[in-house]
């Protein structure tokens, strides 16, 4: 129970390690920079607090009148520069890795709408919308009287999850139909804006089966906070089964569609 609790608390303090090679690279980079900042902070803040305690007029401290030292000034310009170069090298490598969208096994087109996501499995004839789950939607209304604590995965549940196979390089094409949105699943390690008129490319190889949740991260109007992303990562076989079932469902809907159009006339 305790380790579980500690784990949960840690999740609420720090970046997730995620489940893709990229997210792990990002996590390591994040921790490295964080520790570098902590080290510099201990030095700088240590010097400030020492000065504040030691060099007080009330302690009888007498102010020295020295100022300007070229040696010191060169040193505190060059050393930070070197630290930056040391950070920039792995950061550049990570960026090159992220931008390499070649050799993908599957392409998903993600389209942002006010306020839902559409997922298209390109070349598979599968496409569907994904909107906020019903229970969350009822609870989130102003003055609904429903306690969000009692709603499972409050605001992070959808009607149709995007189902993806593990250990496959999946290419995502993000775009939008109305205003700008941004598609983010922290466990994948990145977010990418969905901009009308643009198609952005990104990729992920999910290493572990599971359900991963995220949200829209670009202000897109009234219900910006209410268009979550839910990814269900499954084995290749499960994925194929799911895909086949989806295709049948889509085909059924397509057959029904002309009738609906006729009705509208």
């Amino acid at each position: 129970m305790l380790p579980g609790f500690a784990n949960a608390a840690w999740d609420q303090l720090n970046l997730t390690r995620g489940v893709t090679p990229y997210s792990e690279t990002v996590y390591d980079l994040h921790m490295m920079i964080l520790w570098v900042c902590v080290a510099i902070g201990v030095g700088v803040f240590g010097a400030i607090f020492y000065s504040v305690l030691r060099f007080r007029k009330s302690n009888g401290a007498v102010a020295a009148q020295w100022h300007e030292s070229t040696t010191v000034e060169v040193l505190w310009t060059v050393v930070p520069f070197i630290i930056l170069v040391v950070m920039a090298v792995p950061a550049t490598k990570a960026l090159v890795m992220m931008e390499d969208v070649t050799k993908s096994d599957l392409t998903i087109k993600v389209t942002g709408y006010q306020w839902k996501w559409q997922y298209e499995y390109l070349g598979q004839d599968v496409a569907f919308f994904s909107t906020l789950g019903d229970a969350s939607n009822k609870a989130r209304q102003l003055g609904s009287g429903v306690n969000p604590e009692g709603v499972e995965n409050y605001l992070l549940e959808v009607d149709n999850e995007i189902v993806l196979p593990v250990n496959k390089k999946i290419r995502f094409l993000t775009t939008a139909a109305d205003v700008i949105h941004s598609w983010w699943v922290p466990a994948l390690g990145w977010k990418r804006d969905a901009v009308p008129g643009y198609i952005n490319e990104s990729w992920a190889t999910i290493k572990k089966e599971g359900i991963y949740r995220g949200q829209c991260t670009e202000l897109c109007g009234k219900d910006h906070g209410f268009m979550p992303v839910v990814v269900r990562a499954v084995s290749e076989e499960e994925f194929q089964t799911w895909l086949a079932a989806r295709k049948t469902a889509t085909a059924g809907a397509a057959q029904a569609a002309p009738v609906a159009v006729a009705d509208n006339k």
Binding site: T16, S23, T25, V26, V52, R140, V179, S182, G225
Partner: protein, 532 residues
């Protein structure tokens, strides 16, 4: 009273009294006071909006406001705080202090000065009345990204024209400051003897002149897209929504240095005063400020790393962005070296200045982290960003404004402020501001996006902590108001130098200073003694 004194004061009798004095004044101190009072009012208006935001985010679920109004609050809070509170406050400080610091009688362009202030009440009347328009106040974020901002209702033209007015006011103020410093310096006041506050303001003024017209162009294109059938930013019409972001942030990044550079100047005046020791490296501070200003023009796209840029672009903007850490580091090290082997006392201005150095540096660290593009793909548009920019803007710019207010209030009013209340204000503010913003780092890292009115329950604890910090911080500012009002109305008589370690021309004048600062230029010998 001698004849000379009567003669000296006879200018004072010329100005009209009552409301007409304030409407027609061309005096730098009157205008400075109006800027500062206006800024303080906007600080409370913007603060009230922040209270609505923290109230709604106190617990999950929507209890108080609907999402559209919530978005209006975040949008208006930013616009009011940036353009209404912080920028006019700096212009107010510049108006009051620059003529006194450089040995001038007044600003170079006094009528422009009057106009640049009086545009502001019109601008903010336009902006704030949108709260009562059908469709409500602008809710597309202060960044006004199309296509979303084009969905704004009746408030849209009000927003655009308010931004134009604010920009015109800022540019006029900047022109005046440049004209004043380059033309009205007392004999012997060479550029490299200018107090750092004047230096940082000169650099700020050039940033304003270079960046505000770019914003004006961007919002004008929004206006024509909305009303005149153009498609600058509409993909469907052959335009480009991402182009707006490039143009906006070409203004927007220099803008953040417009908000913080004068703060560097104030802190560089306060720390040597209360440390009784010269600033460690005056010239390196000037060069660091200029380097930061230059770099601020080539880093804009770090605000939009996730928009989908080519690899080469992402790399360039990452390298340029993290490079800013070098001159910023130079500044922080300079302040620390100034405190080393000094003889410090801790009056309220010094407390705020030291707090500034520590907390601004924390904001600098998170800025460095955000500058690393691959990791920014996680941090971007989360509460980590919210924490970052509030550390640099609240515990940065606003704390420096408070430090400067306590520092010069005795000079302005001729009375000492209440030190006990000032210290109480400092401690309440410093503790509560950290309770307010530090947990937002955690929220962002744990995955909470910014600009959302409601959140998943795992974010509940830190949001509640943050809101409690916010309420205490908000209420503490009433103390600030109380100290200022009390000091303006009376109190112990302040001496000319006010502070034991005070250096610089403004301290050679009486407290309060005469209506016209230096009718005759100060003796050149009195100029070089400053801590600068």
């Amino acid at each position: 009273m001698s004849d000379a004194a009567v003669h000296h004061d006879h200018h004072d009798a010329h100005h009209p009294s009552g409301i007409m004095r304030w409407l027609t004044t061309t005096n730098h101190k009157d205008i400075g006071t109006m800027y500062l009072v206006f800024s303080l009012m906007m600080f409370f208006v913007g603060g009230a909006m922040a209270m609505v935001i923290r109230l709604e985010l106190f617990q999950p679920g929507l209890q108080w406001v609907d999402p559209q109004f919530f978005n209006s609050m975040t949008t208006m809070h930013a616009l009011v705080m940036i353009f209404g509170a912080v920028m006019p406050a700096w212009t107010g400080f510049a108006n009051w202090m620059i003529p006194m610091m450089i040995g001038a009688p007044d600003m170079a362009l006094p009528r422009l000065n009057n106009w640049s202030f009086w545009i502001l009440p019109f601008a903010f009347t336009l902006l704030l009345t949108t709260l009562f328009l059908p469709g409500g106040a602008p809710a597309g974020g202060w960044t006004m990204y199309p296509p979303l901002v084009l969905q704004t209702g009746a408030a849209f033209p009000f927003l655009i024209f308010a931004v134009h007015f604010m920009g015109a006011s800022s540019v006029a103020g900047a022109i005046n400051i440049i004209a004043t410093v380059f033309n009205l310096r007392a004999p012997g006041m060479t550029l490299m003897k200018l107090p750092l506050f004047v230096w940082t303001w000169i650099i700020t003024a050039f940033l304003l002149i270079a960046s505000i017209p770019v914003l004006a162009g961007a919002v004008t294109m929004l206006l024509t897209d909305k009303f005149f059938g153009t498609a600058f930013f509409s993909a469907a019409g052959g335009g480009d929504p991402v182009m707006f972001q490039h143009i906006f942030w070409f203004f927007g990044h220099p803008e953040v240095y417009i908000l913080i550079l004068p703060a560097f100047g104030i802190v560089s005046a306060i720390i040597p005063t209360f440390a009784r020791k010269p600033l460690f490296g005056y010239s390196s501070m000037v060069y660091a400020s200029a380097s930061i200003a230059f770099l601020s023009f080539i880093v804009w796209a770090h605000h939009m790393f996730t928009v989908g840029m080519p690899l080469a672009g992402e790399l360039f903007f990452m390298y340029a962005t993290i490079l800013i850490a070098v001159p910023t580091g130079v500044k922080v090290f300079n302040w620390v070296a100034t405190m080393w082997q000094s003889s410090m006392t801790f009056e309220t201005p010094m407390l705020f200045a030291i707090s500034f150095v520590v907390l601004f540096t924390i904001g600098g660290f998170s800025g460095l982290m955000l500058g690393i593009t691959p990791v920014d793909f996680q941090y971007h548009d989360t509460y980590f960003v919210v924490a970052h920019f509030h550390y640099v803007l609240v515990t940065g710019a606003v704390f420096a404004l408070m430090a400067g207010t306590y520092f010069w209030l005795p000079k302005w009013t001729g009375h000492m402020y209440d030190e006990t209340l000032g210290k109480l204000h400092f401690w309440l503010s410093t503790i509560s501001v950290n309770v307010l913003f530090f947990p937002q780092h955690f929220l962002g890292l744990a995955g909470m996006p910014r600009r959302i009115p409601d959140y998943a329950v795992q974010f509940a604890d830190w949001n509640m902590v943050s809101s409690i910090g916010g309420f205490v911080f908000g209420l503490s500012q009433l103390l600030f108001l109380a100290v200022i009002v009390k000091c303006a109305r009376g109190g112990a008589k302040a001496s000319d130098t006010v502070w034991e370690g005070a250096r610089g021309l403004e301290w050679t004048l009486p407290s309060p200073p005469p209506y016209h600062s230096f009718s005759t230029p100060p003796a050149p010998a009195s100029i070089d003694g400053g801590y600068r």
